[in-house]
């Protein structure tokens, strides 16, 4: 049963022509950085800067993308991360962006004079969503988020890092109620940007929140 998709794909011989026709895509979107590293089971390609990675953390001023893409441009994914921020530092997680870590739905968590400032960027427009995070730590930030880029505009939900009930009501931020995103991500990659920040965990998986029919 594990090779179900392979068995099916073999039976679709007539589809292979279409696959072949489209398998000659250019690599224009490939990450430009030549260095890479592995952190928490994910392989990352460095886009800018020189991140310093160990088994437990990544530090530095750097931008990097996961080598394994998301399933499609118009897809939904769940991300979780934990980071330590000093005053003036930030961590940005970008979903559905390019291999240059741009053009996606970006969520920036910044320690602004020991106050947590959160900015959502979609469709090239920044939106300050800090009011949904007032009173929360600006030093130790740990959140998980759904980015439904298969909806128009993208639907973003952010939960506390230790939340296990991924309902809309439990979200710290829900873009359908607290501030609509101004567009969608345009690519199939995800990545992280650090400025003087320490990343201690990051992962990607299937969306946690599903609209019920």
């Amino acid at each position: 049963m594990v090779s179900l998709s392979k068995k099916i794909s073999k039976s679709f011989l007539y589809l292979s022509a279409a696959v072949l026709l489209n398998s000659c895509g250019s690599d224009e979107d490939a990450a430009t950085g030549s260095s890479g590293f592995t952190f928490k089971s994910s392989q990352f390609n460095t886009v800018t800067g020189t991140p310093t990675s160990t088994d437990t953390q990544v530090t530095g001023d750097a931008s990097f993308v996961a080598n394994t893409p998301l399933s499609a441009v118009a897809s939904g994914s769940h991300f979780s991360f934990a980071s330590t921020l000093e005053a003036g530092s930030y961590v940005t997680l970008t979903a559905n962006g390019s291999a240059q870590n741009s053009g996606g739905v970006a969520l920036k968590f910044e320690n602004s004079d020991n106050v947590l400032k959160v900015t959502m960027t979609a469709g090239g427009t920044d939106k300050d969503i800090s009011s949904s995070f007032s009173g929360l730590s600006a030093t130790n930030v740990s959140y998980s988020m759904d980015v439904h880029n298969d909806e128009t505009p993208a639907h973003v939900l952010i939960w506390a890092g230790d939340e296990t009930d991924y309902a809309e009501a439990k979200a710290k931020f829900n873009s359908e109620e607290d501030g609509v995103a101004d567009g969608n991500g345009t690519g199939s990659y995800w990545g992280v940007e650090l400025k003087s920040a320490t990343l201690t965990a990051v992962s990607v998986g299937e969306v946690k929140f599903e609209e019920e029919d």
Binding site: I8, A30, T68, S71, V73, G187, E212
Partner: protein, 350 residues
């Protein structure tokens, strides 16, 4: 006098006399579905709900025009939603061989998109359908014209254009697109002995207000073998390829298909098996290397159709998602469905 007239109207409606006088026919179609995951962490709803309750009204307007209105109620996240699916006027009596309709309707391309969900031959939505056209299919306001070509073989050409302010299921008005939603469907028909086939070719095009462009090409094939009143063999399949370019992004090419053969017994019992497949052909990793990926499913289904007004179905869905180098993930879901229709229903397409 007014009171008497109103009473007569009510009585007439209640007893169905209005149908006799005006040709107005009404029906209510109920689609009850349940799905239960058999593995921990399954994203199945794990409940039994009315997926939709659809009310339909249709009648000749006069000697030239026919009209139809249908509206469906369904639940989304526990909230009752009510939306107009169809509200159109049509005619096939104005120009020989030409049919047209204007208003809101399910766009006339492919196979599933031309039918209400409660009329589909299976319970769950094939992945290619939900990814390319949303769960219910595309419906919009516009105009559609069909022409039965005067050729020695059957060839029906349909072309249409609609607002395209939204693409797929939405609860907002959307925004003016750069190019409206346009589609074309070529449909033929042929027989091999007792086996009848209807093949079709479709093209769909849309560019949203933010520049997101979609172009789709598809092939659909429906086959039926009848023995008396029994639909002994039924085949339905669609294959689609989509070009999708988000504004400012790179072009993404995806290919998907579903195939559904079904065998029917004399007593109304049917056995079918749906096969789903979807892949993003252009998916590359961040280094530019091609990534093997697919979403596939096998859905065996047992059905019982005592009449054209009711249907009971039980299915098991084994689905698998592969995105290398990650390990493939699988999901198993038991599905069941009861659909029934109160009142008349319009004649179906082949």
């Amino acid at each position: 006098m007014l009171r008497v007239s109103f009473l007569c109207l009510l009585l007439g409606a209640a007893t169905g006399q209005a149908q006799d006088r005006t040709g107005l026919k009404t029906s209510v179609a109920v689609d009850l579905v349940g799905e239960y995951g058999t593995k921990a962490g399954s994203q199945a709803n794990d409940k039994f709900v009315p997926r939709s309750v659809e009310m339909m009204f249709y009648a000749p307007v006069d000697h030239l025009f026919d009209a139809r209105v249908s509206a469906a109620a369904h639940q989304e996240n526990g909230q009752a939603m009510f939306e107009v699916h169809e509200a159109y006027i049509s005619s096939d009596k104005m120009v020989d061989g030409v049919k047209w309709r204007m208003g809101q309707f399910f766009l006339g391309f492919g196979r599933l998109n031309r039918f209400h969900q409660h009329e589909w031959p299976f319970i769950s939505v094939p992945k290619v359908q939900s990814t390319f056209f949303d769960d219910e299919g595309l419906f919009d306001s516009g105009v559609e014209v069909s022409y039965l070509t005067p050729l020695p073989f059957f060839l029906d050409v349909t072309a249409g254009m609609s607002n395209g302010y939204v693409y797929g299921h939405a609860h907002n008005a959307g925004t003016k697109p750069i190019s409206p939603l346009a589609w074309m469907h070529l449909k033929s028909f042929f027989s091999l002995g007792a086996l009848d086939f209807q093949p079709g070719l479709s093209l769909v095009q849309h560019t949203a207000s933010d520049g997101t462009a979609r172009s789709l090409a598809g092939f659909d094939l429906t086959g039926k073998l009848r023995k008396g009143k029994v639909l002994r063999f039924f085949w339905q399949s669609e294959m689609w390829q989509r070009s999708y370019t988000a504004a400012g992004g790179s072009e993404e090419i995806s290919t998907g298909a579903y195939f559904y053969p079904q065998y029917g017994f004399d007593n109304g019992i049917t056995l079918g098996m749906r096969v789903d497949y979807l892949t993003v052909n252009s998916l590359r990793d961040a280094s530019g290397k091609k990534v093997v990926n697919s979403e596939s499913a096998l859905v065996p289904q047992l059905g019982y159709r005592p009449s054209e007004f009711s249907n009971l179905r039980l299915a098991y869905r084994f689905e698998q998602k592969e995105l290398q180098p990650q390990a493939a993930e699988s999901n198993e879901v038991v599905e069941f469905q009861i659909t029934y229709m109160l009142g008349a229903h319009p004649a179906h397409d082949f």
